[in-house]
Symmetry: C2
Subunit: 419 residues, 2 copies
């Protein structure tokens, strides 16, 4: 890597990207053959009180990975990101990370308690909380261990959703946590809020009080309806932009404290050494990140011509400002438009029509957020974080397109070795 950086040459970019797809470039339609009129179909199926996916789409499922063979309650169910579009994950496909299975909680018996350094310890039933004012917002939820296979020496060959699918997007509605903190009268010296959930794992984590107050919700609704069991019914913490382990499900206790709990999930886990000998602990916010969901591993381009490069971008520090796409492994970059104005702590969908010439290509995306943070190259992330990392992997992902159209995971310029 001693060669000087190449001077920007916009020509390949102009040749390769279509800033607006045109009819001539697409030409995907076939001439109409034979009669064009279908007769009406016979009477169809009756109305359903609660609909289900089309049978033809039954292959679109969460992929389940268990941490221990034979124990079906500890592991994760991954969102199949490469099979979806837009920024909303349907509730049935929202990712799940469970340690002790999904408890079935009777909402009539459930209580949320706020205790510890407060003027008056309080508890609320679900019905009591449903009387409170709420707020709804779109937010991504990402496990801090998402994409951790990126730390492996060799690029793992798995579908995008099975490497990066501990990420989903939803519209969450719930009660602003600040209302409950004020009602109980939290001691100004209590800098932490320790949250516990009612599953067999009794998940137990510490949230800085200032962040809890600023952005926390007691989440009750997800994409319009009440939470699903595996996503925390009847209530969970919602902390937009913060790592998923803090979004405690089946939430039953909040304890105001002047120090963190030093729980397993903030000492033995979610904590890691840095190259300079220090230890990274209590990294709350998810870093700026993006991922091309199509084309991605396991897909095969049917042939040269126009293909849409599409993907997701997000940041726990704010809103996405810009996504750039490269098809030559990072030598040239072109800005990819977003579908809609970016919202803080929510997924953004980017797209760019690309004319594939049938030659090898290295597809990458790079996100920048409105705090000016830029998604790092893998080498830069490794240099900063060393080889002791597991969490918060947010490096640029490379998909290598082979001449026959197969798409593989790559770590950059060496990707073509695979062909």
């Amino acid at each position: 890597m001693t060669a000087p950086p190449a001077a920007p040459d916009p020509a390949p970019t102009r040749r390769r990207f279509l800033h607006q797809a045109t009819a001539a470039a697409l030409a995907g339609g076939a001439a109409v053959q034979g009669a064009v009129a279908d007769g009406p179909a016979p009477a169809g199926e009756a109305f359903q009180p609660y609909g289900q996916p089309a049978p033809a789409e039954a292959g679109v499922q969460r992929r389940i990975g268990l941490n221990h063979r034979g124990l079906d309650t500890n592991g994760a169910a991954w969102t199949p990101l490469e099979q979806l579009d837009g920024t909303i994950t349907p509730n049935g496909l929202h990712f799940v990370r469970n340690h002790g299975g999904t408890p079935r909680i009777d909402p009539a018996q459930h209580r949320l308690r706020l205790i510890g350094r407060v003027r008056q310890p309080l508890q609320w039933s679900v019905d009591a909380l449903l009387r409170y004012p709420r707020r709804a917002q779109q937010a991504f939820l990402e496990c801090a261990g998402n994409s951790s296979a990126g730390w492996f020496e060799e690029p793992v060959q798995r579908p995008a959703g099975l490497v990066h699918g501990l990420l989903s997007g939803a519209e969450w509605a719930g009660v602003p946590l600040a209302l409950l903190l004020d009602e109980a009268g939290v001691d100004p010296q209590a800098g932490w809020l320790v949250a516990t959930g009612g599953d067999a794992g009794a998940m137990h984590v510490s949230v800085p009080m200032a962040l809890a107050r600023e952005r926390g919700l007691i989440g009750l609704f997800q994409n319009g309806e009440r939470l699903r069991p595996e996503n925390g019914h009847p209530m969970r913490l919602v902390l937009p932009g913060l790592k998923g382990v803090l979004w405690v499900k089946w939430l039953n206790t909040l304890e105001a404290s002047d120090q963190p709990a030093m729980a397993r999930n903030e000492t033995a886990r979610y904590t890691e050494p840095l190259p300079d000998g220090r230890v990274r602990q209590f990294a709350m916010r998810m870093d700026v990140k993006s991922l091309i969901t199509s084309p991605s591993h396991g897909q095969t381009l049917p042939g040269p011509g126009v293909h849409e490069i599409r993907g997701l971008a997000w940041s726990g520090h704010g809103a996405i400002r810009r996504v750039e796409v490269s098809v030559d492994g990072g030598k040239h970059w072109t800005e990819a438009p977003l579908d809609a104005p970016a919202q803080a702590h929510a997924l953004s969908r980017f797209r760019l029509p690309w004319r594939w010439d049938g030659q090898p290509a290295l597809l990458q995306s790079r996100a920048t957020d409105d705090r000016g943070q830029v998604q790092p190259a893998r080498e830069a992330l490794l240099a900063a974080r060393g080889r002791g990392g597991f969490y918060h992997y947010n490096a640029i992902v490379t998909w290598a397109v082979a001449p026959h159209g197969a798409v593989l995971h790559s770590y950059g310029q060496d990707g073509f070795d695979a062909f």
Copy 2:
């Protein structure tokens, strides 16, 4: 109605609305009793590839209304708006209006044809369309016959969702129609696009070509996943802001034409006389509208104190600029904040904490869009449209709160007669 309009008096507004709910006003928490530590739960349920709602929420369903007794394929399934929050309707609860049931279409056999006044008639398989560039956006979908019970002489006493629930909100992703129109080479003289769907009703409607080109999508994804059968799988027209009948499901034919088809749904239906003797036909856009979803009919306020007034606002002409709320039947109005910046042709969620004093109240909301259109009072709508109306009812809705907390539908100042 000969009394002069009352001079604005902001005092009742200040007393009744809390621009930010405060802990002292809420006081919904109870003192913690007894031991506060729950033991961990036993191991819970295993992961599911596709999740389902919590058993405790099984009562949150679409309400099914059939047009003809004994014929279970013609009617509607209504979204239970008063049981939801936010702006996304989960796909299982999106409203459905079917005339001949839900056909089960084999996507491998399905074709979309573009014929008529085009240079080259073309057809696409689902796989061919999936190669095209897409766009995703949030949009409401509303049947032009939604809220038609508002035309009745007496206020109908039904849940909000069973009067106004032919309305849902989703993020739709699909292929911009303009790409297909250009590829087939539509004749510039073809001012209409006639769309037909593959159900037993063979729904058949005409869309102005300019609107189809400007905002139309061939919808393939709804809230991230492929369309559900009852919402048009494998493809439907998506026409943000336009009346629902135009969003043809199970779409198989688009015909470019220099005139509309004069189909049943644009002559015998969706067309109505005006008081001046003219006839209103081809009313494409849904008008500015809002609805308080809570408190609403059938709910009972548990007692005086703070309650959140929350609801939805939308316009087919643009984005919502402002929503105002009244608790005294329209004498005084207070602006209700929106959860998020309003997007054109999408639902907005408004909220306002309200201190109920236990006295009778008349709750109303009034939306204004960014074209300056204002949701009309019922009297104004009747004056403009006469008594021959059925479609496009967008008048202000009044919920009357009785001293004991029951909420009834009312037509305004006379609402208290019900008590």
